[in-house]
Amino acid sequence: MKINITKFIIFSFIIFSLIVFWRGLKINQNYDTKNLIGSRIGNFQLSEINSDEQYISEENLKKNKYTLINFFASWCAPCRTEHKFLLNLSNTNKEIEIVGINFKDKKINANNFLNELGNPYNFVGKDIDGKISILFGIYGIPESILINNELIVIKKIIGPIDQIQFNEILKLIQ
């Protein structure tokens, strides 16, 4: 009888371990920060790229129905590919304001980038040392965050915005 208890414990342990491993295999191992969806963006103050006197904070964003916060840089090649979608969004939609945050870039290069490709942003801020990006849970650029007027993150796009992401943004703001 006692040996049966031992066998039972060993058997239960093997079954338990198999369940843990099986469930572990089903977990998505690709890291992303999409868990930020539903959370509120924190306090921040963002200076304008060409002037330290002009800045926006979360109070300004509360006035917009939707805001798309886009991290970009002139040295970032994927930022060029997503730029046409940002321009399209800015030209066709009045429901959304786009805030660009220029990440670890030189002012002159950022301005040249916007002059060359067009400026889709209602406000262009600067994040010279990258500290602001941490407040938004950014770990690579381009990344974009769609927030509502309560500053709740409703979508996070890691990587460049493509046609699919563009359509999803339109769907969310309509």
Binding site: T6, I9, Y31, D129, K131, I134, L135
Partner: protein
């Protein structure tokens, strides 16, 4: 007056660096417990990536503001999820992770105890 200058020099020469090295140790401890999200198996302490450099700046700022280690970890977890820290926090979702070693230890001990007792009985018989 001369005494004041003497003590000031002593402070800056010996106690100043001592304080900063304590700060450095604290910073290093925090960096070592933070995962570099864009690297292959490296901590923030080991990595020279752009992301690691930014995280180091933010941690330094928060340490200077007088925030505790746990406050810094909580802030970073709120931005990047629990994956950013190597040492997981105690929560409902990872309760099993914390309890399992003790569970295995107790159950394993119980099995060994039963096997020994059985073999002793067999010998006695």
């Amino acid at each position: 007056m001369n005494l004041k200058i003497f003590f000031s020099i002593i402070y800056f020469l010996f106690l100043g660096p001592l304080y900063s090295s304590e700060e450095k140790i604290k910073l290093l401890e925090i960096y070592k417990n933070l995962r570099c999200l864009v690297c292959q198996g490296q901590s923030i302490a080991d990595s020279n990536s752009d992301f690691a450099a930014t995280i180091k700046l933010v941690v330094q700022d928060q340490v200077n503001e007088g925030k505790t280690k746990n406050e810094i970890y909580t802030f970073l977890i709120s931005k990047y999820g629990e994956w950013i820290v190597y040492q997981p926090t105690f929560s409902k979702s990872n309760l099993l992770l914390w309890i399992m070693p003790y569970f295995i230890f107790i159950v394993g001990g119980l099995i060994i105890f039963m096997i020994i007792r059985k073999s002793k009985r067999n010998k006695a018989n």
